[in-house]
């Protein structure tokens, strides 16, 4: 069951195509990563889901039916460019934003109390936003995003502006929201956070969805058949030059913890790992054997073909 489906979205701006036939299916209760370099069209897609702007063609379905503007009451959106009214008090501000999302005054007040209590920041309620530090403002912003208990949460670069402690706090909050039944879309350049919390991803590059699927499946599909092995220091595996009947090839030698190590590559993807181990055991005393799966960062760079701006 997909909670959100964006089908064949096309969005054309005057000079360039922001989205070209992009289809994204977000399963219910998953954390879905939306990746891509700057200017790829992620934010445009998010804005279309939020009814901030409309697609030239294609539809957005929520819960199996065509999305209508009032659906934004069930969406919590934390934009990349975010801010608050600086002169307003924290409590007033949260109340105002919650009321805009259709919460009644009493519900809103209850939720504000709940969330401020959760982050242990009740004493901020009467403070003006401009008196708070940037990290504090981000927390308020996060509360404003989730205060109406939306079914769908969209975070655009949520960790920018957070220190590691607060980023971790935020990550745990996001995971908890998922466990409570929310569906979460997560747009970021930060690949390590993607590996940690995303279930599925779509990688958008130059207005097109170039890579989609479950994160483990993607890593498996992109593996380069590289293995890290360690073996006793008195044995060696020969570094053959490539011959047609070789099972493996040594890419790199090294030493670690009193062992010889090497990174080897399977020459033929159809060779099973057992056959590879057997071939190596004939040469050396094997201690460890581990397949190297590519990181999302590598996959990203390989796919996009340009270095990622890590921030």
């Amino acid at each position: 069951m997909y909670y959100l489906e964006a089908r064949n979205i096309v969005k054309q701006y005057a000079s360039h195509k922001a989205l070209d036939d992009v289809t994204v299916r977000v399963p219910e209760n998953h954390i879905y990563g939306l990746l891509g370099p700057n200017g790829a069209g992620k934010t445009t897609l998010i804005r279309i889901i939020n009814h901030i702007t409309g697609p030239d063609s294609g539809e957005v379905y929520i819960n199996g039916r065509l999305s209508v503007p009032s659906d934004v009451e069930n969406i919590g959106y934390l934009p990349e460019e975010r801010g608050l009214y600086k002169k307003m008090k924290v409590g007033e501000q949260l109340l105002y934003l919650a009321r805009l999302k259709g919460l009644s005054r009493n519900d809103a007040k209850q939720q504000i109390k709940h969330w401020l209590g959760k982050f242990d920041i009740q004493e901020w309620e009467k403070k003006k936003v401009e008196e708070l530090s940037k990290g504090m403002q981000q927390k308020i912003q996060f509360i404003a995003t989730v205060i109406h208990r939306p079914k769908l949460l969209i975070f655009d670069e949520p960790f920018s502006g957070f220190d590691p402690v607060n980023a971790n706090l935020l990550k745990n909050e996001i995971l908890e929201l998922r466990n409570q039944g929310a569906t979460i879309i997560f747009s970021t350049h930060n690949m390590s956070s993607v590996e940690e919390i995303c279930d599925e991803i779509t990688l958008i590059n130059r207005s097109r969805a170039v890579l989609q699927g479950e994160i483990n499946a993607i890593r498996q599909a992109h593996k380069k058949h590289l293995f890290k092995v360690a073996y006793s220091h008195d044995t060696t595996i020969p570094g053959y030059t490539l011959r047609s009947n070789d099972i493996y090839q040594v890419m790199e030698y090294g030493q670690a913890g009193g062992c010889n190590t090497a990174i080897v590559r399977k020459c033929d993807a159809s060779t099973t790992n057992n056959e590879l181990i057997a071939a190596m055991m004939r040469e050396c005393q094997l201690n460890t054997f581990e397949e190297i799966l590519p990181s999302m960062n590598e996959i990203f760079i390989d796919t996009v073909g340009e270095p990622v701006n890590k921030d």
Binding site: E73, E81, R82, L84, Y85
Partner: protein
């Protein structure tokens, strides 16, 4: 929304009328406090001819000395404020009068002395011609006339005054001119603030950009009306209080009542005919029409310009960039203001007529023309045009706004703005 609650708004709203009334009262206060010190002036009249010229009054007391006084004597005696020394017949020798003083004398004192002496000499010279009944001749040769202008009207001819019509027109024009700029600018700043605060994307994920903009325009407009309302009440109230406190008689109440009163008194012929004329002239101006059109033109003009300002605010990133787009608007408003000024001279001229039809200038120019009498169809046509274009402008502005608020770090050109209008929602 958050605007009305700002302290500065409250303070300004309450203070401005107080300041205005205070400003009006300052001359009265000054005269109240100024007449403190009595100044002593010694007149050294060596001719003995001008004993009665200078008469003591509230400010100056004159002492006459017949004896010759040397400069040294005057210099050593610092008691008098000034010495007036006359050492020859002034009819023969106009330079024979000199003022000596230790401190620089005021121009007020100098002209006072000169005028008195000139009047005295003038009378003296006339008397020297020795014409019989001269005072009567002079009295009779002073002619005062007053011109009455009567406007032909269906309900009967009303007495009018070009000066008063101009004043009423000017005041209403100035009110509109001021508020267009003030509240238009307020809308622009508010939009720009939301954009630079980066809150706008949070907002538009809950509210459609069009409603966000409309809400802003309407709320600032209401703030404006509230402010005007408070001002009017406070100014009238404080003005009355001040006039009572200072003992200045002031015209108050509605003019019909006043007119009735005046006429009743006029019949009893105890009232000054000038006063009666003025009241009649006031009655000649249709205040209901002016007030209704003032409000209509304010609303129409405000919506028109405020949406324009909102579009500008959304298109730029910071205040400095607004200039590029502000200049044309400023020129239009200033142009309208000047046309308004000249329309007061020639309210039926082609320039005035066309500018009172063109929506961008009509709120300002038409307000000048109304007190002079404008055909109803012209008024309706102009207001309909204004409202139609206000709605149109809101629509165009909404399209620019929608794109502009989410676009950062780029200063758009006019060409780009035009492109935005054509984007699909």
């Amino acid at each position: 929304m958050s605007r009305v609650r700002k302290k500065s708004f409250l303070v300004m709203t309450l203070l401005t009328p107080i300041l205005m009334v205070l400003l009006c009262c300052i001359p009265a206060f000054i005269t109240l406090f100024d007449n403190g010190e009595m100044r002593y002036v010694t007149v050294v009249d060596q001719t003995g001819l001008y004993r009665d010229v200078f008469v003591n009054d509230d400010e100056y007391t004159y002492n006459y000395l017949n004896t010759e006084t040397t400069a040294e004597q005057m210099r050593s005696d610092e008691e008098p404020y000034a010495y007036i020394v006359i050492n020859d017949n002034l009819l023969n020798n106009p330079d024979a009068m000199t003022i000596y003083s230790h401190r620089q004398v005021t121009t007020g004192f100098e002209s006072n002395v000169t005028n008195r002496m000139e009047d005295f000499l003038h009378d003296q010279k006339l008397a020297s011609f020795d014409i019989p009944n001269l005072p009567q001749i002079i009295e009779e040769s002073n002619v005062n006339i007053s011109v009455n202008s009567i406007r032909f009207d269906k309900e009967g001819d009303t007495q009018t005054s070009a000066g008063l019509a101009t004043a009423v027109g000017m005041i209403s024009t100035f009110i509109i001119y001021m508020f267009l700029f003030m509240y238009g600018g307020m809308v622009m700043n508010s939009v720009m603030q939301e954009k630079t605060n980066r809150i706008v994307e949070v907002m538009v994920s809950s509210v459609k950009p069009f409603y966000l903009m409309l809400g802003k325009i309407i709320s600032v407009g209401l703030v404006g009306l509230t402010q005007i309302g408070i001002w009017v009440i406070l100014i009238v109230g404080l003005g009355l209080a001040a006039s009572v406190a200072l003992g200045i008689p002031m015209l108050s109440g509605n003019e019909a009542e006043l007119l009735a009163q005046a006429q009743a008194m006029g019949e009893a012929s105890t009232i000054d005919p000038d006063m009666l004329g003025m009241v009649q002239t006031l009655a000649g101006i249709d205040f209901t029409q002016i007030l209704v059109s003032l409000i209509l033109y304010f609303i129409g003009g405000y919506v028109l310009y405020a949406s324009l300002f909102a579009a500008i605010g959304s298109a730029v990133d910071n205040e400095a960039d607004t200039n590029q787009f502000m200049i044309p608007i400023t020129i239009i408003i200033l142009f309208a203001f000047y046309v308004g000024l000249f329309s007061a001279e020639n309210p039926e001229g082609a320039m005035a007529w066309w500018c009172s039809m063109i929506p961008f200038t009509s709120p300002i120019v038409m307000m000048v023309r109304i007190p002079f009498g404008v055909a109803l169809w012209e008024l309706i046509l102009s207001i309909v045009l204004l409202f139609a274009s206000a709605v149109g402008m809101t629509w165009v502005a909404a399209r620019i706004y929608r794109v502009g608020i989410l676009l950062y770090g780029k200063k758009p050109s006019y060409k780009e703005l035009f492109k935005w209008i054509k984007y699909k929602a």
